[in-house]
């Protein structure tokens, strides 16, 4: 079920009403309701997906109990590896099987020995990368002793499948989310209002910014061979806003929806396009995935400890794996590698943690130096996004080659004259709210209520005026 669908507009109030109608002490019933609702939400795409998530849930539930119960280190390690192999095996099969098959076929063909293996007709279950990583972190935390295994199958299953963040994150840590299923949720008007506001902002980002950018991005990328350099640059910039609006919009709707039920999810985006260097960008972009890789991959393989060679290796590993996590295509690997190249100089110079605060802290506008830093970071990010968006490496390189041509100074083909204005309006609001968790969290808090509500109504009207009228799925569902 898509957040931006009429189905969800009926589903959410219904589940909300039933959830809070259940007496507060009956946490078990509430968890049961959330579990059923989450399975309905997920099964709306394809009922077969439920088998997979149910299998992962049952497996990790019992393996984790086994890990907690056992004092034999070999057995504990065996159980952990079983979880890792099965979960990553499923992910690998559904997401990467055909990709690897193509690579093997291609390699043999190079030597004149085509295997002729046919691709399997595999349907990628929506959100498999997200819930797989969420359950993996749980099992690893239990193994490490950071968390005790859950003995409540309903609460655990509800944690794995919690519908607001099931298909596109944030990828929650069990240590944050699972205990919330064990304690009675108390309705908070403040949280509910805050959640509603965050959902509104998420819908605005998705329906007004991302979907309108998507239309132009699709057009420009489809005709990139004949487009001028300035139009190609514009296409890359629009894609930067498309993917940010799409993904962070989803996160805002997810976090806001969870708040309606009294759950707190982690912040997933922190105004990444105001980053002053690429290290700061990666602290602000898809935070739940970046920290996942940091805690479960980067640190275990040595992190920033050791010599220069070790740090270079580890940096490349984490960025390449991160790229590959997004999809089975060399373009994602190239996107990860490019980001590693951006990041390495900062790491090696020990300057990767120099911008930890907010940009232009306490000021209305950034200093010229900050503005230049933000513009530079945004520019190199846009270059990397070309790889992320391109169908294949050939298109990415063609596109980048086109961007570097002499027609850069010509007027670009905007396609939709509203779009630059909408993006400008969006950036202004994001800048204004950059110290909050999401842009409009505190905007208008000091205004009289009619003015504040007028502002929210205007956002709703902008959605009504500028949304695309066909349902457009979120980009990150494919990951």
């Amino acid at each position: 079920m898509l957040f931006n669908s009429l189905d969800f507009a009926v589903f959410l109030p219904l589940v909300f009403a039933i959830f809070w109608a259940i007496p507060r002490r009956r946490t078990d019933l509430r968890n049961g309701l959330l579990l059923v609702a989450s399975y309905v939400f997920y099964g709306w795409w394809d009922m077969r997906f439920l088998l997979l998530i149910a299998f992962s849930t049952i497996l990790d539930f019992y393996l984790s109990i086994g890990i907690t119960n056992s004092t034999d280190e070999r057995r504990r390690r065996l159980l952990l590896w079983t979880s890792l192999v099965v979960n990553l095996g499923l992910l690998g099969f559904f997401k990467y099987f055909n990709f690897f098959l193509d690579q093997v076929n291609g390699a043999f063909s190079l030597f004149g020995m085509p295997l002729g293996s046919e691709r399997l007709n595999i349907i990628l279950p929506v959100g498999i990368s997200f819930y797989t990583f969420q359950t993996l972190s749980y099992t690893i935390d239990v193994y490490r002793g950071d968390l005790k295994a859950s003995r409540n199958p309903v609460a655990f299953a509800a944690f794995v499948s919690f519908f607001p963040q099931l298909v596109a994150g944030p990828i929650e840590r069990a240590s944050n989310l699972l205990p919330q299923f064990a304690t009675p949720r108390k309705f908070s008007r403040t949280d509910a209002v805050n959640g509603s506001r965050q959902m509104l902002w998420g819908f605005f980002k998705k329906l007004v910014i991302a979907d309108n950018c998507a239309e132009q991005v699709d057009r420009i990328f489809a005709s990139h061979e004949s487009a001028g350099a300035s139009t190609l640059v514009l296409g890359a910039v629009f894609f930067a806003f498309q993917i940010y609006g799409d993904f962070s919009g989803y996160s805002d709707i997810a976090i806001g929806t969870a708040r309606l039920f009294g759950f707190e999810l982690m912040q997933n985006f922190a105004f990444p396009y105001f980053s002053r260097d690429i290290a700061e960008f990666w602290r602000r972009w898809h935070i739940s995935l970046s920290t996942w890789f940091r805690d479960y991959l980067y640190v275990p393989i040595g992190g920033s400890r050791g010599g220069t060679a070790m740090r270079v290796r580890n940096t490349f590993i984490i960025f390449l794996v991160s790229g590959f996590w997004h999809g089975a295509n060399w373009t994602f690997v190239a996107w990860g590698a490019l980001n590693a190249l951006y990041f390495l100089p900062l790491l090696l110079a020990g300057r990767n943690r120099q911008n930890l605060g907010n940009p232009a802290e306490g000021r209305l506008l950034p200093s010229p130096r900050e503005a230049a830093q933000m513009l530079g970071t945004f520019t190199i990010t846009c270059v990397a996004w070309v790889f992320f968006r391109a169908q294949d490496m050939e298109q990415a390189l063609d596109y980048l080659g086109g961007m570097a041509s002499t027609s850069l100074m010509r007027q670009p083909d905007v396609g939709n004259n509203n779009l630059p204005l909408l993006v400008f309006f969006f950036v202004c609001l994001e800048w204004k709210g950059r110290t909050s968790e999401y842009a409009i969290e505190r905007i208008g808090m000091g205004w009289p209520r009619p003015v504040r509500w007028g502002f929210y109504s205007m956002l709703i009207a902008m959605i009504g005026l500028f949304m695309r009228t066909e349902e457009a799925p979120f980009i990150y569902f494919q990951f």
């Binding site: 009429l6 509203n418 509500w453 005026l465």
Partner: protein
């Protein structure tokens, strides 16, 4: 919880008029091309405004034509008049059964026809009818049938245009509007009786074949059946017609047979005349599926002969 729900309710009560105000403001101060979800075009393509103005002052007719542009560009009342029949054409651009039903409910008692000729172009059955809704909202009076159907469309552009249209009507902004009978941009001449004449020719047919797809949304099928049932109750025979198209728009024989099997039992007759003008398409069509005036004259004579030979024509 009560406080939150009260706030939500109050906000909704606040947001609805605020939304309406923004839509009106946006529609008034900037060109419609600037926002994607208001499409108001009074006196736009297809002469619907002229047609409905005339319909409101027309009395009983012998034959009523319903359907899409293939109806209002395909049946010339002057030709039927020469054959002794009064007629009116209620077709409009991309009209789907949902909009046909709205016009039918509004005008059927006024026209009280002896025969209904209903153009069935399968493509119009397969759409949501947004384009036709926008045409009606811009050019037709807002009555209960239109408002309810627009609400049921679940389409932001339709809703916004309905709001803007209602505001224009309520504030008298449409008073005094006249639509010219000839649009030189389209070379379209409005002919009394709801018909639009186009004299263009030298059309160059394409070779790419259009594939048949019959998958109407349930509301279109319901509206279609409602019109047929209501007509049956009133004792008005209904002839379903597939008007002529060029060869690339011609369905495969098996698809035509399937359509025939589907439609024939539903009405008095189903006439598939989609291939009636094959052979000299550049002479008879101005695009792949619309006839020019010469094609209409040829087709209407053929159609009248066909009805006469089957005994389907009412007494003049």
């Amino acid at each position: 919880m009560r406080s939150y729900l009260t706030s939500v309710l109050l906000f909704v009560l606040f947001a609805i008029p605020a939304y309406v105000a923004v839509i009106i403001l946006a529609g008034t101060v900037s060109p419609f091309s600037q926002h994607r979800n208001i499409k108001y075009a009074r006196g736009g393509y297809g002469h619907l405004y002229n047609r409905l103005q005339e319909a409101d002052t027309t009395g009983q007719v012998d034959i009523l034509f319903l359907g899409s542009s293939h109806a209002y560009r395909g049946f010339d009342p002057r030709i039927f008049s020469k054959a002794g029949y009064t007629s009116f054409n209620l077709g409009s651009s991309s009209q789907t059964p949902v909009q046909t039903k709205i016009l039918y409910e509004r005008y059927i008692d006024r026209f009280n026809p002896k025969l209904i000729v209903f153009d069935v172009f399968p493509t119009t059955f397969n759409t949501e009818g947004v384009e036709s809704f926008l045409n009606l909202l811009s050019n037709a009076p807002l009555d209960r049938h239109l408002i309810l159907a627009a609400l049921d469309s679940r389409h932001a552009t339709v809703w916004n245009t309905a709001i803007f249209s209602a505001w224009r009507i309520l504030t008298g902004r449409n008073i005094g509007f006249t639509e010219p009978l000839f649009r030189d941009t389209d070379n379209d001449l409005y002919v009394p009786g709801g018909y639009v004449e186009k004299s263009g020719k030298d059309f160059k047919p394409t070779t790419s074949r259009v594939h048949f797809k019959w998958s109407p949304p349930s509301n279109q099928w319901q509206a279609f059946n409602h019109i047929l049932a209501a007509s049956k109750n009133k004792g008005i025979p209904v002839i379903l017609v597939h008007t002529p198209v060029t060869a690339p728009y011609q369905y495969l024989p098996e698809d035509r047979m399937a359509l025939d099997r589907l439609l024939r039992p539903l009405a008095t007759a189903y006439l598939d005349l989609s291939d009636a003008l094959h052979g000299d398409e550049a002479e008879f069509f101005y695009d792949g599926h619309h006839m020019n005036q010469k094609g209409v004259e040829q087709f209407n004579a053929l159609f009248l002969d066909n009805l006469a030979s089957r005994g389907l024509l009412p007494p003049p």
